[in-house]
């Protein structure tokens, strides 16, 4: 891959995983117009059954080449979709930071440049947008907050890194993190697990206060009947990752 140079400054990639988000996607993409010119946008249509792909393509055509669309032929899950974005960055080259931002309007794309600036200023490998460091905004349901606290305690105990919002899907990854994610990334509910991997393998992780909105459309991939599976799977994954050798 071509490394960024003085004449060719690093571009950044915003990855938008989208599964059945035809209703929310146009507004999210409209909000992405405020991004400075060094940002490219990649929409990963995760095998949607609705018109997400067409909507994304239509926006991509007027996006002056800055908006690309990748269609996964079948639904792979959030982790697979986001990893496809990291693989896109790795295969194209020239990207500095890769930002993950949800298609459903929960995350404010206007904050992306600040997230990247924070990552660069503190020399972080992974900077997570935390809804709990800010003063207002949507703080999710009570049940999910309990789950989040469990992960905070688990990750803190096993890696020594204290964070407030390990399940946040609004995050900025530096090259050391996203190159590894392009090779290996959890398939479902990837956020706490990948965060733990970074913390444990001595990558620099940090948080940045963000305001989150309630979902604009679609259905969250974490529904109440799946919460038990979600908690058990992520806990097991983190505990077992602790048993693996450190990679760096």
């Amino acid at each position: 891959m071509e490394p960024p140079t003085a004449d060719r400054p690093a571009r950044h990639l915003v990855v938008i995983p989208a599964f059945n988000e035809e209703k929310a996607l146009p507004r999210t993409l409209e909000a992405l117009r405020v991004l400075p010119a060094e940002f490219d946008v990649l929409i990963v249509n995760d095998g949607s059954a609705d018109r997400t792909g067409e909507v994304a393509e239509a926006v991509g055509r007027v996006g002056n080449g800055r908006v690309r669309v990748v269609h996964l032929p079948v639904n792979g899950g959030i982790g697979v979709a986001v990893q496809t974005g990291y693989q896109f960055a790795a295969s194209r080259g020239g990207y500095g930071y890769v930002v993950q931002c949800d298609a459903d309007g929960q995350h404010d794309p206007g904050l992306i440049p600040e997230l990247v600036a924070e990552c660069r200023r503190r020399d972080l490998d992974l900077c997570v947008g935390s809804r709990f460091l800010g003063t207002d905004g949507d703080r999710s349901t009570r049940l999910r907050r309990v789950g989040i606290r469990v992960f905070v305690a688990l990750i803190g105990r096993l890696s020594g890194v204290r964070l407030t919002d390990p399940t946040s899907g609004f995050r900025c990854a530096g090259p050391r993190a996203w190159r590894r994610f392009a090779r290996s990334y959890p398939e479902d509910y990837p956020e706490p697990e990948s965060l733990f991997w970074c913390a444990r393998n001595r990558l620099r992780v940090g948080e940045f206060p963000v305001r989150m909105h309630a979902r604009a459309g679609g259905v969250s991939s974490i529904r109440s009947w799946r919460t038990a599976y979600y908690m058990a799977k992520v806990t097991l994954a983190i505990l077992i990752d602790r048993l693996r050798r450190q990679e760096r």
Partner: protein
């Protein structure tokens, strides 16, 4: 060695095997959860053998241990190998699907999609 000890050892071994395979990434956490449950049940049967007898009497099975060992042993070996195989196949399928999607995007671009237009007729 009596049946209780055997179940205790079997449960512990099942637990160790599950952890070992997940640790080496040959078995996914998703498929391992059920096996952790099986291992725990076996272990508990060894700890509280009376529960098995109570169950056997309640369901009118006169020779519970034989049924348990033969059935469980066979099912365990077979089904575990299936879980491992599924994990491996699944990972390959995902990687192929991602490559396919990225290549398809590249082809569209080279055939004159939005990105190609930008490169050839850059307005400013």
């Amino acid at each position: 060695m009596n049946a209780e000890t055997l179940m205790l050892l079997g449960g512990a071994a099942a637990f160790a095997v599950t952890l070992y395979w997940v640790r080496s990434r040959e078995l996914s956490e998703r498929h391992a959860l059920a096996w952790v449950v099986v291992a725990s049940l076996l272990f508990l049967c060894g700890l509280f053998p009376q529960s098995l007898t109570t169950l056997a009497e309640a369901s009118h099975l006169s020779y519970p241990a034989a049924v348990l060992f033969i059935a469980l042993g066979a099912v365990y070996l077979f089904a575990f190998s299936v879980s491992v195989a599924i994990t491996r196949v699944h990972r390959r399928t995902i990687r192929l699907m991602q490559q396919l999607a990225l290549l398809e995007e590249r082809v569209r671009e080279l055939e004159g999609g939005p990105a190609a237009e930008r490169d050839h007729h850059a307005p400013e």
